[in-house]
């Protein structure tokens, strides 16, 4: 968890844009020459990556929203996957 510690703030890279794909009934993340299809949870996570919330705050918000616990690993893994594509960055 070195790069995604609780105090780090994940941000959606400015090159990426959330977009509803009404023809296929899904949400997607669009970026130069590509796209990633998202499920509802993915969209909920990314909407919280606004550059003001820490990973811990994002997890806490989602756990309240879904009335569940233990989401930290799933959220961190999802964001790591996008970070590997350069679509999410981490800052202080």
């Amino acid at each position: 968890m070195s790069s995604t510690g609780a105090v780090t703030v994940p941000r959606l890279h400015p090159k990426a844009r959330l977009q509803h794909d009404d023809v296929r009934g899904r949400d997607v993340l669009l970026y130069p020459e590509g796209l990633v299809a998202l499920n509802a949870t993915g969209v909920a996570i990314l909407e919280l990556c606004d550059g003001t919330r820490s990973l811990a705050e994002i997890v806490a918000t989602l756990e309240r929203l879904y009335a569940t616990g233990g989401l930290e690993r799933d959220v961190a893994t999802f964001l790591e996957g996008l970070a590997a594509k350069g679509l999410v960055t981490y800052g202080p």
Partner: protein, 371 residues
């Protein structure tokens, strides 16, 4: 039918101040077929119909798309529809004010070509002094907060500069560099003997790419478009014919890829006459090679057919003379010897590469007249 397009390449004009000898535009771009450009209204209708069909990614290309005075309006319409819009430009005489206006209109991403890693080679290959404008535009793009792709087409005269090209993109703060080995269609096929690299050149450049990818990680994405002549199997061209991609030409013809217009055995429809959805679903050009029922052997019984879709139809037409043949670059194709002979000619002529024909209107008209 459940296939829906994701990508639309809008070739807004074939006018271009550059004269790159590997241009993917048709050899007869200056002819009557491409003269009557679509109006602003017609393009906006194409974008609306494309979005309704499922398109999410829009490329605004050419020729040189910034020559269209209505580019801002086209971008504004595309952005309003939710399309992720990329401008694919040479950046010749592109000002910061124009880029700012395009940003304000909702443009998402800018791709600027460069023909070499320094002014001397870049201007020589472009046939027009343009390197200085490109470097200025790269900086404007970054200052305005656009994501930036640097695009370089690679061939025997600039492959030795791959490291320089990557360092240039890195120093500009680009997100991506697309190192596109020349694909032999259009002007590139006409200039094939002069442009095709040697195997040794390709191997050396690939080693640089591997090393630089390891050094740069996610800081700079390095896209390497494979030189398919030197591969064993064909590329999965366009992700399969009529599966995800369409090109609209300046005069409104709709093609399954930006080279398909050369295939004389297909009939192409025009957005002036038909809705885009009808063309995607029913036109001869889109349905002829969709799926795998058209495939001959060795594709038909090949386990790779779901992976490479039989390769490229344009290459089959241009090299083997039959758009319905297996891509001749495939090692299993009965026409593979035609590719091997072209490679052997280049390897043998290593010291004396052939002359280049630059892409320009007079050359285009002369070639069209010759047929």
């Amino acid at each position: 039918m459940d296939l829906k397009p994701l990508w639309l390449l809008a070739e807004l004009t074939y006018k271009c101040p550059l004269q790159c000898p590997y241009c993917s535009n048709p050899l007869d771009f200056a002819g009557a077929r491409f003269k009557r450009e679509l109006s602003t209204e017609q393009w906006c209708r194409v974008f609306r119909e494309a979005k309704a069909l499922g398109v999410l990614q829009l490329g605004l290309s050419g020729g040189e798309p910034t020559l269209r005075p209505d580019l801002e309006e086209l971008v504004r319409t595309a952005h309003g529809l939710g399309l992720y819009t990329s401008l694919i430009t040479s950046a010749y005489r592109l000002t910061k004010e124009r880029l700012a206006a395009l940003k304000e209109a909702g443009l998402d991403h800018v791709q600027i070509s460069v023909q070499g890693a320094d002014a001397e080679l870049s201007d020589e290959i472009a046939g027009t002094a343009s390197y200085r404008d490109k470097i200025a535009a790269y900086h404007y793009t970054r200052e305005l907060g656009f994501p930036l792709t640097v695009n370089a087409v690679l061939h025997r005269r600039n492959l030795h500069q791959v490291e320089g090209l990557i360092r240039l993109a890195e120093s500009l703060g680009a997100e991506r560099i697309e190192l596109a080995n020349t694909q032999f269609y259009g002007w590139a096929l006409h200039n094939r003997d002069a442009l095709m690299p040697t195997k040794a050149q390709l191997d050396a450049a690939w080693q640089v790419v591997l090393r630089e990818r390891a050094r740069l990680g996610t800081r700079l994405e390095i896209v390497w478009v494979l030189p398919d002549y030197h591969g064993q199997f064909p590329k999965p061209c366009m992700g399969g014919w009529g599966r995800a991609y369409m090109t609209v030409t300046p005069a409104g013809e709709v093609w399954p890829c930006h080279a398909a217009g050369r295939i004389t055995t297909l009939t192409f429809e025009n957005v002036r006459d038909r809705p885009l959805g009808w063309i995607w679903e029913h036109s001869d050009a889109f349905t002829r090679f969709r799926g795998d029922a058209w495939m001959p052997e060795p594709c038909r019984s090949c386990p790779r057919k779901a992976q490479d879709f039989g390769g490229c139809r344009c290459q089959a037409f241009l090299v083997a003379g039959d758009a319905g043949a297996t891509d001749p670059v495939c090692s299993l194709s009965p026409h593979r010897h035609l590719i091997d002979e072209a490679i052997a000619r280049v390897e043998a002529a290593e010291e004396r590469p052939a002359e280049l024909t630059y892409r320009a209107a007079p050359a285009s008209r002369a070639l069209a007249a010759k047929g």
